[in-house]
Symmetry: C2
Subunit: 347 residues, 2 copies
């Protein structure tokens, strides 16, 4: 029997090499020979390429050759890598995909320059897409969503940054039980779901050439899969799955994040004393393993893990429903499988 993970590997083996070759092409254009090692490092550290796979499946699901949408596939993968480079800089992360992050490897100065270079490789890919003006507009809007999502994510940290401006703006100082889940949903819609949405839209758009009901359906699928993806990521960042995903237990707790679905579930539904305990821990300078255990115990008391998992499943159902209008094909079936893979990838 094929596992969901096998299905994804199968699709990737169909598209992966084509995408990777084109990524290197866009990144290499105009690049000084001396700088190319720095520039290619980020895409060569790996990554699942889940976003470009979705792009190309939508193109094929709408009857076009996937090769036609390779620029679009590269647009979304490059946006992903671009945002990772700067996320790692902002969060001072030293490891990604089991390797040193770009800034850790080549220093902050060259990492920033390489990051900015990625934005121009995105432009190269945009200019080769089927509808460059429309793709430019949609991609640029998505990148602004990602910036705003990252801004909210930072403001949802309870501690750990020292800038006076940040301390004044952060959300913990104006937190309310009524709005926390809305702020959280807005944050993940922008930080994560917007790029999944774009990935699917651009795939459909490469086949349809203008925004129509199929492109809208692809967008709905993408956004819902993206939300589900982030919810599951949040679970992993609390409960950990180090062997499979390189994630340690309680990572988001140690990073003071209110912007995690499990934490939000406690803040929304927990008794006052439990909410206060969690906020007290997240605001500490040094959060211990004992603190992480306490937070997980509180989460367990409210069944937060199961609730988040159920919520993710609901979003996957919405995604699958959105593409029911698509003609039956192996590609449509794979899109359905991949939506499920996103949620069940580790359970």
């Amino acid at each position: 029997m094929k596992t969901l993970s096998n299905i994804f590997a199968e699709v990737l083996s169909r598209y992966g090499e084509h995408v990777d070759k084109k990524l290197e092409d866009y990144l290499s254009r105009m690049c000084n020979r001396e700088f190319i090692e720095v520039i290619l490092y980020q895409v060569k550290t790996g990554g699942k390429r889940i976003r470009p796979v979705m792009t190309l499946l939508f193109t094929e699901a709408l009857g076009e050759e996937f090769t036609k949408a390779l620029p679009e596939a590269c647009v979304v993968e490059l946006i992903h890598e671009y945002s990772l480079i700067f996320d790692d800089i902002i969060d001072h992360s030293v490891v990604r995909r089991g390797k040193p992050t770009l800034w850790k490897k080549f220093g902050m100065n060259f990492a920033i320059l390489a990051g900015l270079w990625y934005r121009e490789a995105i432009e190269e890919a945009i200019l080769e897409s089927v509808n460059p003006s429309l793709v430019a507009k949609l991609a640029s809007e998505t990148m602004r969503d990602i910036i705003e999502g990252e801004r909210l994510d930072i403001l949802l940290e309870a501690s750990g940054r020292e800038d006076p401006y940040y301390l004044e703006q952060r959300i913990i100082s104006r937190l309310s039980r009524e709005t926390i889940d809305q702020i959280y949903l807005e944050m993940i819609r922008k930080k994560t779901a917007a790029l999944f949405k774009l990935s699917c839209m651009l795939g459909a758009l490469a086949a349809r050439k203008m925004i129509d009901d199929y492109v809208k359906a692809a967008a709905t699928y993408g956004e819902n899969v993206g939300i589900a993806f982030q919810l599951i990521d949040d679970l992993l960042d609390i409960y950990g799955e180090f062997e499979k995903f390189g994630k340690e237990i309680g990572k988001d707790v140690k990073e003071h994040k209110l912007g995690n679905a499990v934490i939000v579930n406690i803040l929304k539904n927990g008794k006052q004393e439990d909410v206060e305990k969690v906020l007290e821990i997240l605001t500490k300078n040094n959060i211990s393993e004992e603190d992480v255990k306490t937070v997980i115990e509180i989460a367990d008391k409210y069944g937060s893990r199961e609730k988040v998992l159920e919520e993710a499943s609901r979003y996957v159902d919405l995604a699958v429903k959105a593409i029911s209008m698509f003609p039956e094909s192996e590609f449509k079936r794979k899109l359905i499988d991949i939506a499920k893979f996103v949620v069940y990838r580790e359970y």
Copy 2:
């Protein structure tokens, strides 16, 4: 009698408000109310707006209304501000235009996000230009030139950065008298002149709609003015003009820069003992006022100041010659005056 500085002020008073209003428009689109203060800070700290002024003069010199090229003018000014935000981050500069730099004011995290936001405001302006695909291509190539120029500028620092990768790559460890002036010229062509070139090209392009001899002439004018501009900037960064330009004496010496025209002049033409003395000083961790004095004395010995000034004048002559084919008009005359203003702005 009108001074050159008055002439520039006159042109600016004609265009300035239009440009500033449109800059704010592009930057504000999609921007969260809470974030707008951070986003607008950089453009509100001032700046001469010399690049958009050149854009609009070229449009008018070719018989079009300047309002038609406002998106193009904003493209080049936003690229300038975008590069300043990241230059200040990379160089840890705390003051610009007499005010705290963006990162100093709002912290590193929000400064990076704001910088990335500028790139998307550039995209907004590109999409409203007369020929979006061509402008997107030219602008993106220019931004890669700027990144490469900044990379070379960093590698031309003799000391002051600690990353192992940087230490291995820096140019001082493979310096040669034969190539230093070529590397320097390549660096300023990319770091500075490329954007002046784009500014002038886009202005001409808004009137001509495609690349023709007028657009090429505008490009030649822009590139040569840009080189002259950087040479004069280098003089100011050694000899200082604090009252007029907020620049301290010996700034580039204190920042360990080999990539300054005055230093390059010594490295190219100086006796071995003087070259060694200058390299010894530039490689020191802490460079004293006495050290700065020594470098300036060595420069004086070779007449470096005058030589750089003469060189700048030659580039201005090339710029003026390039647009001799343009029909006579007040705008053409202003472009000639501005080219001269660039060199004589402080003499």
